[in-house]
């Protein structure tokens, strides 16, 4: 046994503290959704989701949710078809610019969203004039905000796979570059692509500032709207969104384990 490792008791205490840090607020929120203002227990807040009378109240949520899902799809498309091929290209053909590319990709994490909006506002004026003000156009901004998360996930997989040798082997066997990328490289960095995509979805579903300041209706802005009419609904939808993210993380882990079974 490693003598420098903490004892089992210490590990349990640390684990319990971390779990409490996350679970107490979530548990409190969950309890809150089962309470009436007078403190009595009720399922009414949850059943109201299916109540036709609540339809008008919930409409902004469904609109925001739909917009967020469209944004998530477009953002993931940007990650998979713009970012990932660029990263493969940089790693295989232009390794000298890798450090610069990494710096640029990680930069958005250090820029507050409010500052980002100041720069994005005039750009979105031009976008609005050329292709309209559809909510999906927000994906261009989200493509930037998810860069650090998607980049790190994909780069970790790229570092683990010997892309150079794999691509050269495939080329020597007669494969053109599209085949190399789609049939050889992508399957071998699949875990990174999946993790990058799911983290991007999580970021898009949780983003508020940019959407609000650029006057777009997304899931998080709809929570603000609805909370003015019913304080319980945002709590319920927050729990559902967290559950969704948790399921997504489980999928990442499961797929990752599946890939590890087929790989050394």
């Amino acid at each position: 046994m490693n003598r420098l490792a903490p004892s089992r008791l210490t590990r349990w205490i640390i684990g319990a503290l971390v779990a409490a840090f996350f679970l107490i607020p979530l548990g409190s929120t969950l309890l809150y959704t089962f309470q009436m203002p007078d403190g009595s227990a009720t399922l009414a807040h949850w059943t109201s989701l299916a109540d036709p009378e609540s339809a008008a109240k919930l409409r902004p949520v469904w609109t925001g949710l739909t917009n967020s899902f469209v944004l998530a799809v477009v953002t993931v498309t940007i990650v998979l078809f713009v970012l990932a091929p660029t990263m493969i290209l940089v790693n295989l053909r232009f390794p000298r610019v890798k450090a610069l590319f990494e710096f640029v990709a990680l930069l958005p994490i250090s820029i507050p969203a409010i500052v980002l909006v100041v720069g994005l506002a005039p750009i979105y004026l031009s976008i609005a004039r050329s292709i309209g003000t559809g909510s999906w156009t927000l994906a261009f901004a989200y493509g930037i905000t998810v860069l650090p998360f998607a980049y790190r996930s994909i780069q970790a997989s790229i570092d683990a796979a010997d892309l150079k040798t794999l691509s050269e082997a495939a080329r020597s066997l007669g494969a053109g570059w599209p085949t190399v990328v789609l049939h050889v490289l992508a399957p071998n960095i699949r875990q990174g692509l999946l993790a990058g995509s799911l983290l991007s979805i999580a970021v898009v579903l949780g983003e508020f500032t940019i959407a609000s300041l650029l006057n777009r209706d997304v899931f998080q802005t709809s929570m603000l709207v609805v909370s003015k009419q019913d304080p319980y609904l945002p709590a319920i939808f927050t729990l559902l969104a967290l559950t969704l993210c948790f399921v997504l993380l489980l999928i990442i882990g499961r797929v990752g384990r599946g890939i590890r079974k087929a790989q050394p």
């Binding site: 796979a161 010997d162 040798t165 794999l166 050269e168 082997a169 495939a170 080329r171 020597s172 066997l173 007669g174 494969a175 053109g176 085949t179 050889v184 399957p187 071998n188 699949r190 890939i259 087929a262 790989q263 050394p264």
Partner: protein, 362 residues
Amino acid sequence: MTLHPLPPTADNSLLADAGEGTRVEFRGITKSYGSTRVLHGVDLDIAPGEFVSLLGPSGCGKTTALRVLAGLEANDGGAVMLGGRDVSRVPTNKRDIGMVFQSYSLFPHLSVVENTAFGLRRRGVRRTEAHKRAVDSLALVGLDHLADRFPHQLSGGQQQRVALARALVTEPRVLLLDEPLSALDAKVRVQLRDEIRRIQLRLGITTLFVTHDQEEALAVSDRIAVMNAGRIDQVDSPENLYLRPATAHVASFVGLSSLVRGVADGSFVSVWGTRIPLHSVAHGTVDVHLRPENLRLVDEGEGTMHALVEESTFLGSMRRTLVRTESGELVRVQHDARIRPAYGERVCLAIDPQPVAVREGA
């Protein structure tokens, strides 16, 4: 070169289709990385069906030369000819080559048979036909029973065998081997080395083998091109390289040799009172490359040199002993295994007057 391919068998489509191989020519190939020139006008002709090794120390440009032939690096000058056609600007995937890499280059997400069929599928061969031919190719390397496994379920030697089967299944015009044995343990290295040669002879495929291991090159090659600092020093048969090295670098790199001081007078050099013929004319004080088998342990007499034993190594059928001469030179001598010199023992050496190579300006 005379090849004696085995007769085709019905169960091996590869063998049945074995051709005569393709001529490969390097014509004045130059290549630089930035301001560093790594290939200085390399010229090399490889006959159809010939097995040629590029041998040299690390950084001499042998892998770069192979990669230029594969199209993985672009040559700055000169021409690469495949079957008489300049392919210098033809992309790798259109050159019709098979290549085995130093690192295990199997695709981890594909099974052994899928890996092997990859090149066939890229050439539009139907799935069932590609599968059948892939299994045939795996049979050639004795791994058809592992067709459904994944690369990580194979040993290093098995992975390189699959890589070889994958490279051969498309019946390429030339087979390129980029130090394919260097990651394997000693026993597997020898087995796979011999297997590569056996298969190459059966298929008659032109093969270029890059290695820094002289023993590997000497064992399997029809000819060896010894490279040094981006140039080819000598291209010759293994026997000639060993017995008649053209340069001091070849003499020192191919086989074991010891350097001793001598005085040359044209076609001969005098060492320890013995006149030895030279491969090339030299004058004055020179360093002479003596092979261990050119030296003998003898009784004291004329033309002998006294020496003290530094170490002695048993090599199975013989013994090799390192001695320090009275003039301070360290020399290896090969002799009967039954003679067991002890450390510090005083011995006498004599030189067999076989032709030797020298380094001038000593």
